[in-house]
Amino acid sequence: MAKIVGGIGTSHVPSIGKAYDMGQQEEPDWKPVFDAYKPVQKWLAELKPDVAIVVYNDHGSSMFFDKYPTFAIGAAETYPIGDEGWGPRPLPDVPGNPDFSWHLAEELVYNEFDMTICQELSVEHGFLVPMNLCFPHEPSWPVKTVPIAINVIQHPLPTATRCYKLGQAIRQAVEACEDDLRVVIFGTGGMSHQLNGTRFGHLNTEFDNDFLDKIESDPIALTKLTHQDIMEDAGAEAVELIMWLTMRGALSDDLTRVHRNYYAPMTTGMGLIALEENA
């Protein structure tokens, strides 16, 4: 039986990818970000997952507002590196597991989560920054992936509760798979940030640290936040954090926190938490 062995909540700030590609890992203002992922890389190397489910949003790479799905799932053999407007990043294409994707899609749809199924999907910073920070990838990636894209950029967005329930349904769907697969799930995006208006650059460290506390110990409290609550406190684009609830909904409450970090150098609170299933 397939099982979920761990979950990771992480920001997916695009400038981290650019800094990585430019080899700025040791620069003083960047070093704290890159160093924070080293224990997580080590943990994942020991955990040896077969599949990573990555919950992210497409910021205009493979998806546009002509038809922007609320919930979508990748079901491709390979996910090419997308061009977001500055050329594709120099990373190897990311392998998928279409059998497992279709299994998840079937379970989710029959469980009343009506996913858009994508057989061609290029992946972008929302997906790639977490992957590139957490896994070695030269010459190839050590895991297969299932991208799950959530609309967190064009309101109306799904509610925080709905995102959490999607996570619960993902857990059931994983456990209904007869293949022996070890699965990790990523919830990505945020933390506090705003990229429009005169409030551009708004950060809320207190909110972010409280979110990091509660994603571990009291996710139900976070599901009660409305989009308005999150946007008022943590900035309009911080609403991406609802994707962390999908990750958390897919985990049990019998967890060990392996790692946690927070750093807010520029315009986004960069958070990281890694949770391992005890059973």
Binding site: S15, A19, E27, P28, D29, W30, V33, H59, G60, S61, F64, F65, D66, G82, D83, E84, G85, W86, G87, I153, Q154, H155, P156, L157, T159, Q194, L195, N196, G197, T198, R199, F200, G201, K224, T226, H227, Q228, M231, E232, G235, A236, E237, A264, P265, M266, T267
Partner: protein, 120 residues
């Protein structure tokens, strides 16, 4: 059903990208999305006016583009920040340049407000 947005209560200095903004911004966002193809970036760089002419854009949208007025594109034309960012490879203006404009500051003034501005 819990109300997700309190539309009677605007958040100061904040534009929420919702249906109204997405309808208003559809033209400019579709134009900006075209920059995800290298041949379109090359066409814009080769001849901006001709490239803009090949798209359905309003006169104010074209003028904001010429002026590199990102505040205008976002706050007045319904531009979505993630789409507008795609113009950056051709205009040479990244997120923090756009952000400084939105705040009504110079790039340097904006950088002063950050915790560790080397991580840019």
């Amino acid at each position: 059903m819990a109300t997700q947005r309190d539309k009677s209560k605007t958040i100061p200095g904040t534009t929420i990208f919702d249906g109204a903004e997405s309808r208003k911004g559809y033209r400019i966002n579709k134009f900006a999305m075209s920059f995800t193809k290298s041949e379109n970036r090359e066409a814009f760089t080769a001849d901006e006016e001709a490239y803009m002419e090949s798209w359905d854009l309003s006169d104010p949208e074209r003028q904001f583009l010429r002026d590199r007025d990102y505040r205008g594109l976002i706050e007045e034309c319904g531009g979505n920040i993630y789409m507008i960012m795609k113009l950056g490879t051709c205009t040479g203006h990244g997120l923090y340049h756009v952000g400084a404009q939105l705040r009504g500051q110079t790039f340097e003034e904006f950088m002063e407000t950050r915790n560790a501005s080397g991580a840019r």
